[in-house]
Amino acid sequence: MGQTTTVEAAALATDLAEHAFAIADDLRAQAERLLRTHADLSHLRPAVTAALGGLISGAGVITAERPQRLEWWMGADPAQRTRLDLDLDPASDTFVDVGRQQWFAVPRDTGVRHVTGPYVDYVCAGQYALTFTVPISHDGRFGGIAGADVFVADFERALRPALRALGSPAALVNTHGRVVAGTTAHHLAGSLIRDEQIRAALLTQTPATVPGGVTLTPCGTLPLAVLTW
């Protein structure tokens, strides 16, 4: 119990997130090859659909050039698989400005991978989700993103035993203090940690004990941490 298990819970959360990133990165590598040869993105389809299932509820690639091309599929269950078809017409009521979505804009602007969420993914699956995206490079420039979605409910279910085993109230939160999974009614998915000292500690992403007895265990280099009270 105690420190060891907190580290284990953080390690499990890290493994789950890195699994999603590994899928995103594999799709990135394939997309970069296709872009180099000017091949059609639909060649990615077998790899994208093979990535779905288990924790992964959505995956695919969206390019940066206009008109944007996408090969993104949703549905862990093969029987309910649908291809994402975003409305990219700026004059339409249901227009989706991909460039303003965090999962696209952050990898584009920073050049590095990004965890979006937990957030309400109202442009795609309409679910409460985490989206793991990596930038695609094309001709030395930003060529789009590759990514994978995990529903928060599934992430929580996978992490729950490890959090429960800690014995004290615990939560996995992102660096903004948003709870991904928690073991008390006060810290359920979606709630926000408002304590300023905890919020400040989360931004540093180093192991810490915050005054008040809250311990913080970062999840590797990911923008996630396990808090225990």
Partner: protein, 231 residues
Amino acid sequence: MVFAPLEPHSRAETVVRRLTDAITFGLLTDAEQLPSEADLAAQFGVSRVTVREALVALRQQNLVETRRGRGGGSFVRAPAARHDVHSRLAELSLPTLRDTADHYAAVAGAAARLAAQRADADDILRIEEVDADVGRPLHRMERAYHLEVAAVAQSARLAREEVRFATELGTVLWSPVLPSDDGAYDPHADHRAITAAIAAGDGDLARRLTEDHIEKAVERLVTLHLTLIEQ
């Protein structure tokens, strides 16, 4: 699935629904000439092919008549028994509208209250950014604003409901065609007040302001109905 991608033909359905609503609600009157295909396409933000497809459907429903040649174009054919339509509106549509609007106010109000509990500084910026985009038609701006509030509330269900209401009610409720006796009617000012309450963490105020905001829009619509019925 609410969030299933829009097929091009469902955009035509949206155009059909909006024009059908406008004719049914009397916003477009009998024999009134519709704007040209190109103008309709521009106003609805769809292609001319989509507009053409919608007009075919409206002709099949006898709601629109297209005449060729000089003085030609597409004209509204309001249902012949105008009084029947109006009395039907009086008996059926207003209570239905009230019930729908009550449901919508409950959803949007609850979203605002939860957003006040759960928003951080970045979330407030996102809501403000949506509201700052003033170039859009009113119903599109309202849809984007309330959807963003539901997202900030961290509620996928409320966000799905917002999308449903935007489709079902939004284009009529926030129609720019609706007359406003009250010169003070300013949706952006309403939004700024709601956003400020969310930023201040005052959930009760955010909810009340959101409910008031919707109530005002419903009043505009009901007043129009009653005016039409009395004609």
